[in-house]
Amino acid sequence: MKSLEELKAIRERMQGQVGMRGEEENSIRVVVGMATCGIAAGARPVLTAFSDLVQEKNLTNVTVTQTGCIGMCMYEPIVEITMPGKEKVTYVKMTAEKAAEVVESHIIGGNVLTKYTIKD
């Protein structure tokens, strides 16, 4: 390594990874339901898609985590997104493709994709 730029490049690449080990109060939380029902309905690729995208796009303030059964097994895979100071948004019947859309539109853009949210 001969320059500060190279050091910076490594730092930025690694920050996305080690950043997970802090406890941010103001972070956006993406919670994927990963109980038996969720996994059976295909939650695993959804979870992988979220965590890959968050790290690829270097979204350091986003935490992707998993939870158990939320209780609406017919809507699995379910993903909940909490932004600081806003109400929780629940997406249902998710897929990896939908996850990519949610990352772009909701997490980065701030626009909730109501077409995938839970209907009353």
Binding site: R11, M14, Q17, R21
Partner: protein
């Protein structure tokens, strides 16, 4: 890209309680469940809560599993990592709140701590330079080499008020300034990692958990004073730390962060390890440098100080591991940030190895000025078994005791010296009412007698005589005049010894004499050990009227000192037993066997 990181402590404490087996089991189970591309297992340095090892944290949730066993791993992987259900029965109980799982930083152990030197310990994989860089590693070195002059670096360290963490408390910036001021064709930067105080393991944990921080800081120091070569003198008894340092040095060289023309500048610097062979005196600076040179590790008189004539006769700076661990943060965040932590004359934080009669044995880092009470009662979780706090010992064999009535003393360099102890390198041993202070003084003195190098007479013979006097006291063979004579000898050794080892060796005796003189008097006049520790002053006996004659004690006695008598106590059916004090070896084995509390120790 991993969605979850499982951090397992790979420090010496957790390694001895089996963390490597945990890591192996985790990797097997993760593979079995097909999670190897989603979950990363990271072996880190010390988390601090060694009493609860092996320790494991799962991120992003931050779930803290303590005392993990190999057989629990399958459950943790299939429940938590696969299905997202935290295995609450294995979670550290302090993090379990009514509202769910609390953050680790909110637990009593971590809440009052402030991690500067230990910042990356338990967070990064110490064998991965990229993770260190991801936590701002080597940024301070880049800043120093490309934007600062050596004088600016020294001024920043001077201004920060950082003082040597090895115990002496000499201002680090001043040390650097003196070494820079001396012109020479070659200068050296040394790191003292010969941590020898009984019960102290701060430096080991930093080297095991974050070795690159020491390499980075030494390189910065090299730039500041104009040195091109560094040596880390580390004891061979720290195999894990030695391994990780070797890995770190290799990685830093590969990245060009050690070697020639660092960051494209004309500054070159390299570091080598030197292993100490276990002599305590080699922690003393002149002895340490003599040992690096390849000679027998013995101190020499100062002046000349190392800043003038040190290693191989060249200007040298020698700083402790923890001191170095503070440097990159000071460079990055500024002297004002560092000055904002701590007390008027002691800035920053201090790492302590908390041990002895305390619930949370482990490693803690606190801002200077934190009181001993906060450390013992809050961070340390108090004394186990409902016993009372009697004293805390700081500074190891060079330090002294802080008695219970001074428990509210804010911990910093000057306060500790004022009450007759010292900061030392950071060992903090907590003692409860079952500890005999004469015995403690004797313990530390036995250590210094063993470790005295023998070069100067006051230390070689003085400490030996002092130990003999203490031994007589614990055997009830001394008089009150002996105590006075012993005190006089202490001052003689202090004033006349060649190096720090001898000059501080009498401190444990002097400080226990100062605060616990009544215990010494009890040994001498009453021939009693109030804490019931000194065997020669103890005697065991059976209260015959309480004895039911079951004979359990006689069975337990290894010396055959307990026999049946003819006496049957009123209301009892069998004859009572008695102890023959001439045969008794005072092992205490009988006491535990008596259900009727008929055996007393006094």
């Amino acid at each position: 890209m991993y969605r979850s990181h499982v951090l397992v402590c790979g420090g010496t404490g957790c390694t001895s309680s089996g963390s490597q087996a945990i890591i192996n089991a985790l990797e097997t189970e993760i593979k079995k469940n097909g999670l190897e591309t989603e979950v990363q297992v990271v072996k880190t340095g010390c988390f601090g809560l060694c009493a609860l090892g092996p320790i494991m944290i799962v991120y992003p949730e931050g779930t803290f599993y303590s005392m993990v066993k190999e057989e629990d791993i399958a459950e943790i992987v299939s429940e938590h990592l696969l299905k997202g259900r935290i295995v609450s029965r294995l979670v550290y109980d302090e993090t379990v709140a009514d509202t769910g799982i609390k953050s680790l930083n909110d637990t009593a152990f971590y809440k009052k701590q402030m991690r500067v030197a230990l910042r990356n310990c338990g967070v990064i994989n110490p064998e991965c330079i990229d993770e260190y860089i991801g936590c701002d590693g080597y940024e301070a070195l880049g800043k120093v080499l490309t934007t600062m002059t050596p004088d600016q670096v020294i001024d920043t360290i001077l201004d920060s008020g950082l003082r040597g963490r090895g115990g002496g408390g000499f201002p680090t910036g001043l040390k650097w300034k003196l070494a820079k001021g001396n012109d020479a064709d070659q200068k050296y930067v040394c790191c003292n990692a010969d941590e020898g105080d009984p019960g102290a393991f701060m430096d080991r944990s930093i080297l095991e958990g974050d070795p690159h921080v020491v390499l980075e800081a030494m390189t910065i120091a090299g730039y500041a004073i104009g040195a091109t070569q560094g040596y880390i003198y580390i004891r061979a008894e720290y195999p894990i730390a030695v391994d990780r340092l070797n890995v770190a040095i290799k990685q830093a060289r590969e990245y060009g962060l050690l070697g020639k023309n660092i960051f494209g500048t004309d500054f070159s610097f390299d570091i080598e390890l030197r292993l100490g062979a276990g002599a305590f005196v080699c922690g003393e600076e002149t002895a340490l440098m003599t040992s690096i040179e390849g000679h027998r590790g013995e101190p020499r008189p100062r002046p000349p100080f190392p800043a003038v004539k040190g290693l191989f006769g060249k200007p040298t700076i020698l700083n402790n591991v923890e001191t170095y661990a503070n440097i990159p943060r000071i460079i990055l965040l500024g002297a004002d940030w560092f000055k904002s932590i701590g007390t008027e004359k002691s800035k920053g934080t201090k790492v302590f190895a908390l041990g002895g009669k305390i619930k949370n044995t482990g490693l803690v880092e606190i801002p200077m000025g934190t009181t001993l009470r906060e450390v013992v009662e809050e961070i340390g979780g108090g004394i186990p078994n409902g016993k009372k706090f009697k004293a805390a010992q700081t500074g190891g064999p060079s330090g002294g005791c802080i008695p219970a009535h001074l428990i509210d003393t804010p911990i910093d360099y000057d306060n500790l010296i004022a009450i007759g102890s010292m900061m030392g390198s950071g060992g903090l041993i907590v003692m409860d009412e079952d500890t005999c202070m004469v015995d403690i003084a004797k313990f530390f003195l036995e250590f210094t007698v063993d470790e005295s190098c023998g070069k100067c007479t006051p230390c070689r013979i003085g400490t030996k005589r002092l130990l003999e006097m203490l031994d007589n006291i614990t055997k009830g063979k001394a008089t009150l005049e002996d105590i006075d004579k012993m005190e006089e000898l202490c001052y003689y050794i202090k004033d006349n010894s060649l190096c720090g080892l001898g000059q501080t060796a009498p401190n444990p005796v002097l400080s226990t004499l100062k605060f616990f003189r009544d215990e010494y008097v009890a040994h001498v006049v009453d021939k009693k050990c109030p804490a019931g520790v000194c065997k020669d002053l103890l005697s065991y006996s059976i209260i015959k009227d309480k004895c039911f004659g079951c004979g359990m004690c006689a069975k337990a006695c290894p010396a055959g000192a307990i026999t049946k008598t003819d006496y049957v106590a009123p209301g009892k059916k069998l004859p009572a037993y008695e102890i023959d004090t001439a045969k008794c070896v005072k092992c205490g084995a009988c006491v535990g066997t008596c259900k009727f509390k008929a055996i007393v120790k006094e």
